[in-house]
């Protein structure tokens, strides 16, 4: 199994769960939005 190669995350993601990945995506998007708000 591909998952066995990683002790963290799965073959598809470095995060432990979809919810964790979604949360990080949301934070990254908000940081980008903040940068756009401040500098663009």
């Amino acid at each position: 199994m591909a998952e066995d190669k990683f002790d963290r995350g799965t073959a598809l993601t470095i995060f432990g769960s979809d919810r964790h990945e979604d949360l990080v995506a949301l934070i990254v998007a908000l940081v980008i939005a903040l940068l756009v708000y401040l500098y663009v």
Binding site: D22, V24, L26, A29
Partner: protein, 522 residues
Amino acid sequence: MVYTKRTPWTLIMGVIMVAYAYLVQSGALAGLIKYLGTARYTGEMLTLGYTFGGIAILIGLWQLIAKNAEGHVDYYLSTVGGVTFIMLVAFIVKWGLDPQMGQWGRAAQPTLGFNFASVMNLNYVVMGIISGIVIVNVFKVPGWAENGVRLSRLGLKTGVILLGALYSFAELQQLGKLSVVLIGIFVLGSVGLVLWWGARRNLPNSMTGVLSAGVGVCGVSAAVAAAPVVQAKSTEIAYTIGTILLFGVICMFAFPIVGKALGMGYITFGAWAGTGILNSAQVAGAALAFQPGGIETLKVAEIFNITRVLFLPIIVIWLAIWYVKREVGAQKVDIAHVLISKFPLFVLGFILMFLLSSTGIFAPARHYQGSYFDNSDKVMIKKDRSGKEINNYLKAPDLEVLKKESEKIKRDDQKAALQRLIENKKLMSIEDDDTLRGVVNAKILSKEGNAILVLHFRPGRARHADHDGVDQAGGRSAAGGRQRGRRGQGRGFADRSDAVCPRDYLRRMQKWLKTNSTVAPR
């Protein structure tokens, strides 16, 4: 487990990127850029080359020199090699393979009788996806890049969330009724059809339930959310996800080809792809493959796809009731708990970004007002502050100019678009709008002819400047353009249309209009 591989490749790729950016900046690659016709990408070549190359050099050096120990720093920084690898492949495809393929397509046209690159839709989006498939399945992803490649889904989800910033209430009002009705029919019809068909084929209820949610709502997320409700086995979830993704891969390549063959517009194709393809990333892939130079199709496709996800609670409740009725002794599941724990958070992020954008914090409050094509009378005939009617239809003198100059156009599609504009006195579709932007960009017509076209582009779309230009200052006419030019407010084409009709070109045109009075004032 230590994830960082001691490899020089991150450093090498970083050096390649920085060197390429430097050569572009110094003009050493001017000949190649001219040959490939990629001069419009020079800005992004420099920015992306220096940024990603610089980061890769720093991290690459650190990975080679430092002693890597197990932990969060090792885990997350080990992704840099893979991300750089993906970026390098993307650069090669977009700045090299894509323009080269276009040239090969044109060169082979006299022999083959058709432009294979155009017919097969071989743009950088499609070739990027094919490159990824080939690398993963034929060459295998290098060990040092594996962790970074696992980060790609994060980029996709971030992109979908950020896409929310490109919509407004006004736009959604325009698409709202159509999309909700279409999606409602599709989602409920698909779920009902799969449930009925599964029963006829004597599939286990759990398999039928999870498959119906997967193909009816939004693919993987829906399958995972529905699984506990119908008590699906892990093999059934895997089978469903495999079916959805395989179907999506086929659709991602087939949809743009079929869409172009049928002459679909951006909205039609976006609605079709957003409803027909299940996975959000594959929807984005198909939409960008259909329209690589713009985001209109992507926006329509994603809003259809996201709206479909919002049906998830209804479907989960439906499946819970359906399953309990069919399975004697089935364990009751806490539906609220399932929904809260399984609902894809990035969809809520998309909505949050849309709400933030609607407050006007990223752009002027009316920036995205009615971004979709609208040439109805309510847009073409407006009233100014004093109640005076402003007619935005083409006026007789402008029509005469365009009729005279139509002979200069050689391409059939451009001729037809201009003919439709002349016959109807207004642009009839977003495709005609794009086609005629090409005419303006190529400077085929006289300055006067171009000025008339420019001022009639994208009716109903309030751009950066239009909220203080078109709406208040006057109608879309060459004279109106002169009026805005005097006020120094003619800042249109500041969105993606920059590529076709740059801001400075409009400024030059307004300057010219100030000193030429051949266009009849109204």
